[in-house]
Each structure stands twice: as structure tokens, then as C-alpha cells.
Symmetry: C2
Subunit: 365 residues, 2 copies
Amino acid sequence: MSEPGTSHLSREQQVLERIERARRHRPRVREKNITLAHGAGGKATQTLVEALFLEHFRNPALEALGDGAVLAVDGGRLAFTTDSFVVSPLFFPGGDIGDLAVNGTVNDLAMCGARPLYLSAGFILEEGFAVDDLRRIVASMAAAAERAGVAVVTGDTKVVERGKADGCYVTTAGVGVLDRDVALGASAVRPGDAVLVSGPIGEHGVTIMVARGELEIEAELASDTAALHGAVAALLDAVPGGVRMLRDATRGGVATVLNEVARAAGAAIVMREPALPVRPVVNGACELLGIDPLYVACEGRFVAVVDGDRADTALDALRAHPLGAGAALVGRVEDEPAGLVLLETSIGGTRIVDMLVGDPLPRIC
Amino acid sequence: MSEPGTSHLSREQQVLERIERARRHRPRVREKNITLAHGAGGKATQTLVEALFLEHFRNPALEALGDGAVLAVDGGRLAFTTDSFVVSPLFFPGGDIGDLAVNGTVNDLAMCGARPLYLSAGFILEEGFAVDDLRRIVASMAAAAERAGVAVVTGDTKVVERGKADGCYVTTAGVGVLDRDVALGASAVRPGDAVLVSGPIGEHGVTIMVARGELEIEAELASDTAALHGAVAALLDAVPGGVRMLRDATRGGVATVLNEVARAAGAAIVMREPALPVRPVVNGACELLGIDPLYVACEGRFVAVVDGDRADTALDALRAHPLGAGAALVGRVEDEPAGLVLLETSIGGTRIVDMLVGDPLPRIC
């Protein structure tokens, strides 16, 4: 297991040089073979996306690298997104692969500022998978879709031989419409903006680790999986034009989201550790696992960068929503050091919060 | 390997009774565990879809059971579809999993009468998969997308541990717009209509079998994988209002498509065996495999049911298109026996062409 890359501010210049070097060179996948890190959402995933997918599929919608693509269709604006789910175990406290997939896709649409409408579902099943388990997953998807007000309108099922999958993989795609005149994205972020998170972080990831029996603890833990479009709508309506970008903090956690934002915005993000909402049980489990909750996946929390002058209004609006009750203002956007995420620690120091390297928590979603 | 279910006309009454029984009962998955047949596109897939997916996701768009869903969005009409691809081997004469996925999704949109616009791509990769192979697949997807005039605008990558997948699975979803005032579907089919296929059948499936080395033959075979929206547009423009339904003949082949149509339309489909376009090499390979080319997957052919009075015009339009050069009028729709597909054989008999039972060709797409 690799440790999330953190280092002291003294290494800042070094890091900046590395970033500069990376900008001059075209990204390249150095490994000959895919590793779990390529699916972790951190540095290796980013390189894979830039060196392979962007390189070949190059188009403006994809290059925006949002949670989904925003597209002009028939005079309106659509959001379109997809995610594959390979979470293990398939069933865990607070959810299963089914509602995780529905909520995940609904959330990717919500993060584009879209009203989620329709989902597709592609199933890859392993020969021998229990039909009752599939039924449970499908029922859970249907319930999640109903709660979120979306319909699963099209799908596909493939079966592979025993040993060629792990029970059930689900790939959902989603379509939504942008009713509001929003232009969300890291490029809209500017110094002076405030960084909010919508609730306590890391609960999904830690729940999965505990469900796998990798931690010998008994904890009152449940995944935070939830559909966030209602909370997002409340936020967007509270500060019209004041929301810069939204991103749900899934694989790679809040740290990964903020690194992507800092890099794309060419700005610094300075977080205050005491302000970070982390439940004690999550903190404790993370200590046992030797990982930083900042890198642990949430499936029902998002990061919002908002106009600094309207941060209080934004925060109040979030907190008034059931899924934003634990929202917090965790940091601010500054000019320098551009491209970096800093954490002012509880003991008074400052450290760089780097991109995730390796994959401490494989198959978390 | 199970034989495609075919039987003599004398069993017709028996079959009709079975259908009637099935109508009275709610479909139910009898197996406790998923089998390869559940992914074959035939009877078991249909039961799974009806008993699980329709039962839980119930909505009009899904219940239409087309290749994709047609949706009213923002005053326009969108088509939305998804397919997972698990073909083995990943690379085969005439294509690979990449262009297969792009063409497959483009075709599902085309079969809805839509102009394909945007695709998503979800990758499930096995740890250890060669990055060069992934690059080749992505390049092939990009080339296929460019040929089809669509853009891959959003995606996702997951990695599972060694032994938990088979190199690479791809799930594509697609969005298109319906420019034309068409209402395609099996329910529009009526007695007197003509049944066309757009070209020689079975080439994709047989190519895959040969590529697996399961047949000790050397044959000049290549997958027919191709994007069909151009050929479809030519057809729709040639006989405005005259096209009843379109379906690409993938898993389960032409026989499965026609059975679904006959059942949904409550009509009979009578095919003439001598009219069926099958290349001799495909016929030969099918004989060696002990399967009927009518059940073998195509990835670049479609079935069109058109107004019988305009069948010649439709056929001419198809034949004028490079991907419809081998199109043929293969049968007609009749009143009775409702719900059945009959084949008038070359030797003068008539047999029932039943739904596919079992899966003679697993992981063909």
C-alpha cells in the first residue's frame, strides 16, 4: 500500500518545477501494463486519461474533464456522463453496487449543474452469479432511481465465464438537462473564492474497508451514498452565478478533487485542517489503515468552490438541505503557489497535499 | 452447445399454446444462477429482462424494448442507448472490441431512427493488461467514431485485480437526436409488410469463432462491424413513412430479431430460405459448427420491416448504399400464425424458426 503523497512546504519549489516539466512534455504512460493505480483516480489515472483517452478522442467536451460532458443539442444544453462500478463487496452497510451506480451517475450530472433525467445500465455478469443477488441489485437501483426522480430507460446484459468477472459489474450512463444558466468548471475558479464540502468525508471508503474485514473493528459505519442533485440545486439557487465549480469527492477523495482544481485553475487552494468535517470513527479507521481521510472516497459528498463574498449564504443554503447538514467552509483559493493544494494543520504547520499515488483502496466504487 | 430450437410446422399448435401460457403468466427466471445463456440475446435473456429489469425499472421508454430509448427532452426527441462489450478475442479480423463498441452504439441509435451524436466509454481493465493493447483499442474507437461522425465526450476507467476480468471490457452509451418524424417499432409492423436484411448475415459471429481457433479452417473472413446510420438514413429518406421498424441483427442473429418482432407485433413472419443472403464461407463454417446462420451475430447488418407496397424502392435505396449493397428482401409479414417466424426452405418445406435457446456462441460481442 502506498502512502498518499504528502510533503513539506520546503519541497514546494521542487514540486512546481515538476509541474512545469510536466506541462512542457506530453504525458506518457510509462508502465507497460495496467496496475490498480490506473483505476484509483489519482496521478496514474490522470496520466492514462491524458496520454491515451484525450490524445485519441480529443474534443472540447472531453477536454473539459468534468464529471460529465456538457453538450449543445437541439438548442438546449445536455449533460452526459458514465461510470463503471466494480465495488467489492457488492453489498455493504448503507448500500450496494446498484444504488451506488445510480447515485454516482445522478451525482455526475448534478455536478455539471444538470437536472438528471434518464439513466442507462449495462451489466456484466459472471456465470454462476446468484439470480437473487442480481434481483436485489436491480431492486436497489430502481429504488435509488425513484428517490432521485430519474428513470432507467435502456440497458444491456452480458455474461462472461466463471472466473472472468467478480459477480457483477455495472456501468451506468446518464443524461440530464441544464435548466440554469450556469458555466461550472475549474477554469472559473479564482483567488478569493471559498471552498466548501457538503458533509463529513471518507465514510464510503472506510465502510467498504470495514465490510471487507480488513479492519478488525466494529464501527457504526455506513456508506454515504446518496443522490446530491437536490442539495446542488439548493446551492445554485442560493447564490446565482456564485458557484464556480462542483465535484463529487469519489475515488481519490477531496484531496484529488482539489488538486485537479488547483492545477486546472492555475491557483492555490489552502485548506484549514480543523475545518475539515471528519467523523471520529472515520478518523480512527483511517489511522488504523494508515491513510489520510482526505484521500478516501465519499459517494454522497461534494466539493463546491463559490464566490468568497457569498460563502456564508452558500453554506447556509447547503446546511438547510438534509444532505448538506454537515457542510463546512474548509478553505480558500489563493494566487500562489499556483497549482498546489496546501493544508494548514491543526498544530500550526502547513503541508502540501499532493495527488494520490498508488491505490490504497482498490475497488471502492 | 445447444441447438437453435427449430421444429416442424406440425408443432405449431403446441407452440401457440406455449406462447399463450407465457402471456398469462408473469415471466420468472427459473434458474438460481446466471448462465451464459442469459447473455446470449435469446430466450433466457428475454426472460431475465422481463422478469427482472422490466419488473423493477418499469417505464414506457424501457418497455418499448427497442435498441435504445426514445425520449422527449426539451421539446426535441433524443435517443439514448448502451451496450457492454466482452468479446473474446479482443482483436479479430476486421475489427476489435473498440470499433465494435463504437459501431454497436452508433447502430443502436441509428435503429431508433436517430442521428448519432455523442458517445461515452466506460472501461473495466484487468490488472496486468498491456497498455499497448489498450492504446490500440482506444485508437480504434477514435477512428470508428471519426468515421461515424460522433465524438466520445465522457468516460471512466476502473481496474480490477488479475483474474477478475479478461483484459478489457468496454461499455459504451450513446445519445442521438431524431431529426425525422419517425415512429419505429415492432408495434407498427402489419401484415403485408416486407422484411429486408441489409446484407449477408453471420459474418461477425463466424469470424470470432474462427479467430478463437475453434474451427480448423482457413477462411477469408472478416467481421462485418460497421456504422449503419448512413444506410439507415438512405432507407428512411427513400420511403418516408414507409419504414416500420429497424433492428441490427447482433446477438441471436436475424432469427432472434424476427421472433421479437413477430411476438411484439402479434403477426407471423414468413421467410424464404433461398432469399437469405449468406456467403458460402459462412454457410460452410456454420455447418462445421452445427449452427444455423440465422442465429449468428452480425455487427454491420440490420433487419428492416417496410411497407410491402414500397419494398422495391426501399431495397433499391439500400442497395445504392455501400453498406447495403448485398441487401435482400427475405420475407413478408402475415396474419397467421401470430407470434411465429416461419421459414420456407429451399427444398419446399416450411419450418418454425424459434427463439435461440442456450448460447452456441458466447462472448461474440
